[in-house]
Amino acid sequence: MTHQVSSPTRFTTGLSVRDGRDPALNQAPKAVKIDVEHLSFFYGVKRALEDISLQIQANLVTAFIGPSGCGKSTFLRTLNRMNDIIPGARIEGHVRIDGLDAYASGVDVVKLRRKVGMVFQKSNPFPKTIFENVAYGLRINGLAASKSELAGRVEESLKQAALWGEVKDRLHESALAMSGGQQQRLCIARALAIRPDIILMDEPASALDPIATQRIEELVYDLKQAYTIVIVTHNMQQAARISDHTAFFWLGRLVEYDRTDKIFTNPSEKLTEDYVTGRFG
């Protein structure tokens, strides 16, 4: 790698409200949903993320791009504290969700994860029926008072995930018998069922064929009406197609964060330009 980066301060975050301007957005700025300030993350002594600050706005799709190992997935997982289960992981800085510090002492991780849902790279349906998969989060969080309410919310979630029509006649069959694309939409339905505000998606379509990928992308587009979506992808076309804002990560640093069209057509950083034009990565 020949790219020399002098210091993190050289990197631009065009959307940062902190420096007093919001040059990229023509429409009225939306509310800040996630506010990350000087976040560093360590696996033992290895620093995986270095001093990251950015603000993610409500009801938009924000994409994280960058080469493998750049820290984009690690960063995504700091937002709902999924890294907590990794032994030796440590964090510095702040993550505020709706103004509340997610890492403050006394924060209930269970509540945080209920608010910040997640869909994983590899679909991970539980070895249960389709119905029970969607009902799982409702049951463990005690979110449905009656059987009919439970059934109603399962149906609603499956409809939101554009899966209802395909599965309504086999709700009580194993989820593992579904196709890969259906399984991933089931995982989205499962995340939607507990009505989070934010949905984190970690390369949700990377293991799917183009048609299944397209369905996921359409779904993401529809879901942003009601949710704030943060999606990690290594597919730049996908980021360009579905996201409003894009953050480019490189070697654990946030290189550039701006409106997606600007990142892909007129990036401020040479490094970003090299990456989006396919010169490395």
Partner: protein
């Protein structure tokens, strides 16, 4: 001879040697089955299962009390070993890196290697001597101690095979650690755990040494937990070392029943596992 032919020849010779080793390993099993069936089948009839042992010199009779005794002893052992074994297996897999888990694993492996006669003497010391009474409970206790490490290690290994993605999926939906273990991870490994329990059961059903000092033997039909109780293995042992031909024939029949029980257990376990796997896709 050219090199290709030599290479193929060496390859075939190696595969042939492996096949021969398999055959050699199977020969003793086949011979055991053959002799047990040949010697035992003649004395096996309905009366063997339903009637009591007859006094010396009187032909016929059966091992009804020993069959019931073996079922009771293995039942007591399971009641004790299944909860303890499964729970310690869960602990060892959930807290895999901790010193306690490492110590537990080492202890389980050591206990697994302790000769069964030693287990019998140990159980004699703590479950027979203080009460001045051989008993079914003491026998079940000795067998249970043998079962615990088998079940614990099987459970641990099967839980470790459950993909981490399932755990993350449950946590991301707001499950606590215990919730994730009991609603997702253990159910996912359940077919294997049940197979492990059944195989442990089959293994201890054939134990004689731990029972000699604990449940001893009983010429009569007993269902009392605090009294000595008969078991197939001890009965076979008693009959086999006796000088009477009729008792020798009974011992062969008892051995056949025991082998049949163990084989049935193993087969049932395999079939159940295969069926559950298929149902889950």
């Amino acid at each position: 001879m050219n090199r290709d032919r030599l290479r193929r020849l060496i390859s075939s010779a190696f595969v042939g040697a492996c096949a021969l080793a398999v055959l050699l390993a199977l020969v003793p099993l086949a011979m055991v089955l053959f002799f047990v069936v040949r010697q035992g089948i003649g004395s096996l009839n309905l009366a063997f299962f339903t009637s009591m042992p007859r006094p010396v010199g009187e032909a016929g009779g059966g091992m009804a009390n020993a069959i019931v005794g073996t079922l009771m002893l293995t039942g007591i052992a399971s009641l004790m070993a299944v909860p303890v074994g499964v729970m310690s297996g869960i602990y060892m897999s959930e807290y895999a890196g901790t010193w306690l888990a490492i110590a537990l694993r080492f202890a389980a492996d050591t206990l697994n290697g302790v000769p069964s006669i030693v287990i019998g003497v140990f159980a004699y010391g703590i479950a027979v001597l203080p009460f001045k009474q051989f008993s079914a409970l003491a026998g079940g206790f000795a067998l249970g101690i043998m079962m615990i490490p088998i079940i614990a290690r099987t459970t641990e290994e099967l839980l470790l095979l459950v993909p981490n993605a399932l755990r993350e999926g449950a946590l991301a939906l707001g499950a606590t650690r215990a919730r994730a273990v009991f609603t997702v991870i253990v159910p996912a490994a359940l077919p294997g755990i049940i197979t492990g329990i059944v195989l442990a059961l089959a293994r201890i059903a054939g134990e004689t040494a731990p029972l000699l000092f604990t449940s001893f033997n009983n010429r009569f039909f007993s269902r009392a937990l605090t009294q000595p109780i008969s078991s197939l293995t001890v009965q076979i042992y008693t009959y086999a070392i006796s000088p009477y031909d009729d008792w020798h024939r009974q011992a062969w029949a008892g051995a056949l029943v025991l082998v049949g029980f163990v084989l049935t257990c193993s087969l049932l376990a395999r079939i159940a596992t295969a069926r559950i796997r298929r149902l889950r896709g």
